[in-house]
Assembly symmetry: C2
Homo-oligomer: 504 residues x 2
């Protein structure tokens, strides 16, 4: 909150504290001032809307009132149950059309609906599948019969499997069920707790691994990912990427540099074809399940990649369930290496994606800030860490809020209780993102913007809030100042067009 907010609050507080006030009826003017003060403090509270924007804002406000008239308030339902109703809502259509700026927290292999992998990729030649002992599946593309996979049935060529299968539709939907955690079934039954949902989540990545790390699919997947975000009116991406070895049909593999360079090449092609798309930067990520020497190697590799791809590479992060892994502090030596050498390696740490309080992992928020993280992934526990919260605000370390992800991974059920509702009421530095839309059955950013705008923002948040959220996604990106100004200029044009086309 700016000093401009603080001062009148203190003045009003003093007024309320005087003895006089105790025996006076409430003054409607003081009341109005306090109400206005809260409105000014929220995300977008200081954004001035022009006349056309005000017209659209009035439309939007009416739409939001209507969302509150529903028999069931959608952000209080599990996204899997609410999705079709959300997508049918007028507010979703509008959010879909809205230029939302950048998506700053999205993972590489969960950008798009895995239905595409099933319907398209698994129908390609040379695609083999096996069934694991723990009821999951694995894939591989190979020009010859692939080597047996431990703990998996013998490999079967998909064409042959489908030939032998009576009901191919059932087979395909069973495959799909292994590649996503989205389900039509009773979600409380299927995912009774965090352990179960995290287990299913990680299995799904294991299952799709052999598909998305096959070089031709890898390239197409990313291009489709860009397309999906672009069509959702997202103009920029910061992609958290594992940069794994990518393999070819003959079994040969490519190293991380190749993978990163391939992302860069495809991004260049995509932006050439879509000049109003601003681009992608990559945050190299490693699973937090590694040991300290593996972490040192990863940091070394990150530094090397940063030297080789100074513009395309944005920084470094750790992925995987925080509660099951080592805390950030465990890796402090490895993570301090760049600073000790006087080199800046920007960090974008996941931190506070937990509801355990007081565990060693629960220190990640403070430690992320101490290690100079540029932003915080999730920060779900931030409110319970007043010092970390204060530092995040003062240093402009934005929180990457992913409401659907937090709900699906069972940190919170009713999104009105999501901590970002509080952060939005205080205009804390934050951006809205979608984390793993492919896994969650969401798409681009619009589903998460719906939850944020309707569920977190409540009736008070408005077009100005949305505008600030979009601008935040550029202001808190890893782009340098000059690039940000360029991106904002592009965004501003899109915004004006959007407002004009939808106000009347």
């Amino acid at each position: 909150m700016s000093d401009g907010h603080r001062r009148p609050l203190v003045a009003l507080t003093l007024l309320l504290c005087t003895r006089m006030a105790v025996l006076a009826a409430p003054d409607p003017k003081v009341r109005e001032a306090l109400i206005q003060q809260e409105l000014d403090m929220q995300t977008g509270g200081e954004v001035m809307l022009n006349d056309v924007e005000k017209v659209l804002d009035a439309r939007l406000s009416k739409m939001k009132q209507e969302e509150h008239q529903r028999a069931e308030f959608l952000p209080s339902l599990h996204f899997f149950k609410a999705r079709e109703r959300i997508r049918a809502s007028p507010i979703y259509s509008l959010l879909q059309k809205m230029p939302k700026g950048g998506a700053l927290h999205v993972h590489d292999f969960s950008m798009i609906d895995p239905g595409w992998l099933v319907k398209n990729v698994t129908y390609r030649p040379h695609c083999y599948m096996c069934f694991t002992d723990n009821k999951s599946i694995r894939f591989i593309f190979s020009s010859q019969a692939p080597k047996a996979h431990t703990k998996c049935s013998p490999w079967t060529l998909m064409e042959e499997l489908r030939d032998k299968t009576a009901n191919v539709t059932d087979l395909d939907s069973s495959i799909l069920g292994n590649l996503t955690i989205f389900t039509d079934k009773d979600v409380e039954q299927v995912f009774p707790n965090q352990d179960v949902v995290w287990d299913r989540f990680e299995r799904a990545f294991d299952a799709l691994w052999g598909l998305v790390t096959y070089a031709p699919v890898f390239k197409e997947y990313y291009y489709r990912g860009l397309t999906e975000f672009y069509l959702d009116n997202v103009m920029y991406l910061e992609l958290r990427a594992l940069l794994p070895e990518i393999y070819e049909l003959d079994g040969s593999t490519h190293d991380r540099s190749w993978t990163l360079k391939t992302y860069q090449d495809i991004t260049r092609r995509f932006t050439a074809e879509h000049p109003d798309f601003f681009g992608t930067r990559v945050i190299f990520t490693i699973h937090r399940g590694v040991n300290t020497s593996m972490m040192e190697n990863a940091v070394e590799e990150a530094l090397k990649l940063q030297r080789d791809f100074p513009i395309f590479m944005a920084g470094f992060d750790l992925v995987g369930r925080e509660d099951s892994g080592q805390p950030l502090w465990y890796f402090r030596d490895a993570l301090s290496m760049p600073a000790e050498r006087g080199v800046a390696l920007p960090y974008f740490f996941h931190a506070g994606e937990t509801d355990l309080q007081g565990t060693t992992v629960d220190q990640n928020l403070l430690d992320a800030i101490l290690m100079n993280t540029s932003r915080i992934g999730h920060g779900f526990a931030l409110l319970r860490h007043p010092v970390a919260k204060d530092l995040s605000r003062k240093q402009g370390v934005a929180i990457e809020v992913c409401p659907i992800s937090n709900q699906v991974m069972k940190l919170v059920s009713d999104l009105r209780n999501h901590p970002a509702a509080v952060l939005m009421s205080e205009n804390h530095p934050l951006v809205i993102s979608s984390d793993d839309p492919g896994m969650f059955g969401s798409s681009g950013l619009s589903d998460d913007f719906y939850e944020a705008f309707v569920g977190l923002g409540g009736l008070r948040s408005n077009l100005a809030s949305l505008k600030e959220l979009a601008v935040n996604s550029i202001r808190y990106s890893s782009l340098n100042q000059r690039q940000q100004e360029m991106a904002l200029t592009v965004w501003q044009k899109k915004w004006e067009k959007f407002v004009l086309e939808n106000a009347f």
Copy 2:
């Protein structure tokens, strides 16, 4: 947070903000200082423990660690499912024995387990029951056949009904099911949403009304309520009381003054018999469903009662579901009457017991503070109202936190997401209370203390937190300064005994 907290934070922040820091490895000393700062900021963070207390604290810390080792973390489960496991936990036994100070948010007709009403009261002579059209029940005691109740079956004498009933146990448990919302059944099925649970909650009060407003039962009920809280090591009560007409067997009725005086007499008797019980003060409450002129009458009556019972009567409040009623501001003329006459009528408003954001009812928090409320009942929405939160802190307007109530009434499911977890991390002025233990199947304050200590406080909260919560319940009571000191002296003795008896 006191100024003492603020200053080092700013200093550390400056340190972290300097450019130097960006390229330095994290300093473990700064880290320790920041961690300590968060510990100091929490409820109890400034309380110094003596050596014996430290021993007990270590025991408590171990117990809490064990609570976190359970397969299911109890505060994240619905209380109805978790109750028996909570009660069997060593931490519960300790909390039960702990002198908890006062219970500042408890309603008159939900102090105790309604099982007593079924097993005892409905077996008394002259007890009639009827079945309402909407599947509930009504009771009346009467020396002669009572007048027919509209929308209810003919009255049946309980003795006769039981004589005619094959399975009296089933009948009794069916009656009990009407007097409480506690259930062993699948709670998500029985109470799918807030509307259903509020409906059942209000029906249960309607059902037990004829029992508890019968003069002899009324007196016994309150005496038993005091006993139950006393045995739970609660030494003081602020009772929100509707003060309804109380009836006798011949149909004659008593007015509010009689009801209040009866409470006072019984309290005197109880404290005479239990000299270490400090007493009760009554907050006269009226249902928010009334119209403005009824509210004016209620305020007039409150002023009269305050004149007649200056020591026993604590103040005034509105009850009933906030979301279904008029906002406080609707009643501003009536509620301003005392101030306009230069008379102080202390208010203890329920406010912010909602998860709707931006509705007129959602203004209640700010309005309660504007109308000089002494405390805030629930304040569940406080975090989303930064100005109200700031005023509440600065003016010492304590929040009456009732975790089980908020969970049962479906404002939040996992109590780790309860906003008071944040308030406790900032040592916001607050007290823990139980609201309607009889309705929720809880007892005294211990169940709510368990949820607060284990669920809201997380691993960081400790014996100092519990001590501060107990002291808060006296400091934020309506007792005057001198009475508070007296109560604290009594409490301190109990506390020392408790610590000594449980440390080793």
